[in-house]
Symmetry: C2
Subunit: 208 residues, 2 copies
DNA sequence: TAGAGTTGTTAACGGTCATTAACATCGGCG
DNA sequence: CGCCGATGTTAATGACCGTTAACAACTCTA
């Protein structure tokens, strides 16, 4: 196969500069990000090459540079996107007036995200250190803010428990929920959702 | 610094062949394995070079080849060692007559291991795919056997729950316990031990 | 004390990777 | 119709990495 027909010129995306978040999202970018998530989750950031990344979407390696300024930029945009999605919906759900319901809503949201996007959750959990510095701080801030939403709900539910302890409990809970990618084999989604939701709820209830 | 005095010739270890597991363990090997655990946990197997590995123990890169046949061999020995330790002690603890006590003993063991060796647990969890094939099967077998010890105890405790569900619960529990490396900051060991033990116990009790 | 074995060193090799350069194709638009 | 920008391609570049080669120093031992 030689060259493929070009797409109908939708929202030309300069590889440099801040990625335009609005307008018609270039489908190629999304395709590459999706493939990158799988590859990074499977082999780690350093274990996946740009060549494989391109091949996964039917391109050669250098073609990726038409859409991203480099390998780091792919990871950065991916983590930024995940963190923003988690925080945005997390903030919405944590705002429920009843803290018990808020916690359940958070649990359901995080679990659905993890079950539907195991690769993304894995990369989000492991590859922060490989994000280049201007954006790493932003991702860290978003991640911390997301954790803080959980801590806030938990604090309303268990006043008297120190914040450090609640934070540690939330991290442990994430570990439980995010174990999905390594254990989802065999079980169907609904059963897994039930099981993990119950386990996580129960684990958090034990925090005193 | 030029060259350093050689060690007093303890158990010369041929880089090839099956690593001799008995006799006086070469301290250099252990040193390298320890540094490798930290580096692999921090940056991933592909993200850590043999040069860094050597430098971490005060050597140059090629010197590592005096003790291991290659980078893969370092990882292989590391994972084999971890899996064997987990399984050996896990089997012992799972044999307690009362399943409730057995579960507690397993929890305490795994948690102590994770809290004392966060790097090892991380590598054990993530890097199996990079172990070369003759040994990967052995590690997988050991890991599976370890999980099966947990499942066996849980089965005695909750007859009627299907095996797949129990296995998924065990994996989720490991995810919770192994979250330690990412969340141990700030809390002291004893507090962390208490918290995670209670959470894991509670999570497993919710499995019906 | 000479030789052998162990454990270092530096230099060199081959491969892979991220990235860039140079060139081709195609669609939209003047 | 002819050009321009977007999106591909292949070829080339430079860095790094895993590994091996060649050589040196030290210890133990015959």
């Amino acid at each position: 196969m030689t060259s493929r027909p070009a797409a109908p010129a939708t929202a030309p995306q300069p590889p440099d500069g801040p990625p335009v978040r609005e307008g018609a999202p270039n489908p190629r970018r999304a395709e590459i990000l999706g493939a990158a998530a799988e590859l990074f989750a499977l082999r780690g950031y350093h274990g996946a090459s740009i060549g494989e990344l391109g091949r996964a979407v039917g391109l050669t390696g250098p073609a990726v540079y038409r859409h991203f300024s480099g390998k780091e930029a792919v990871l950065a945009e991916m983590l930024l996107d995940i963190s923003e999605r988690l925080l945005a919906e997390g903030t919405r759900r944590a705002a429920a007036p009843d803290p018990g319901r808020a916690l359940d809503a958070l649990l359901r949201w995080h679990l659905a995200f993890a079950l539907d996007n195991p690769a993304l959750i894995t990369v989000h959990e492991r590859e922060l250190d490989n994000v280049p510095e201007p954006q790493r701080h932003r991702v860290r801030r978003l991640q911390r803010a997301y954790v803080e939403e959980w801590v806030g709900v938990l604090r309303r539910l268990r006043p008297g428990v120190p914040g450090d302890r609640l934070r540690a409990a939330v991290h442990a809970c994430f570990g439980l929920l995010n174990s999905t990618p390594r254990s989802a084999a065999g079980q169907d989604r609904a059963a897994m959702d039930d099981l993990l939701h119950a386990m996580a709820r129960s684990a958090l209830e034990s925090v005193r």
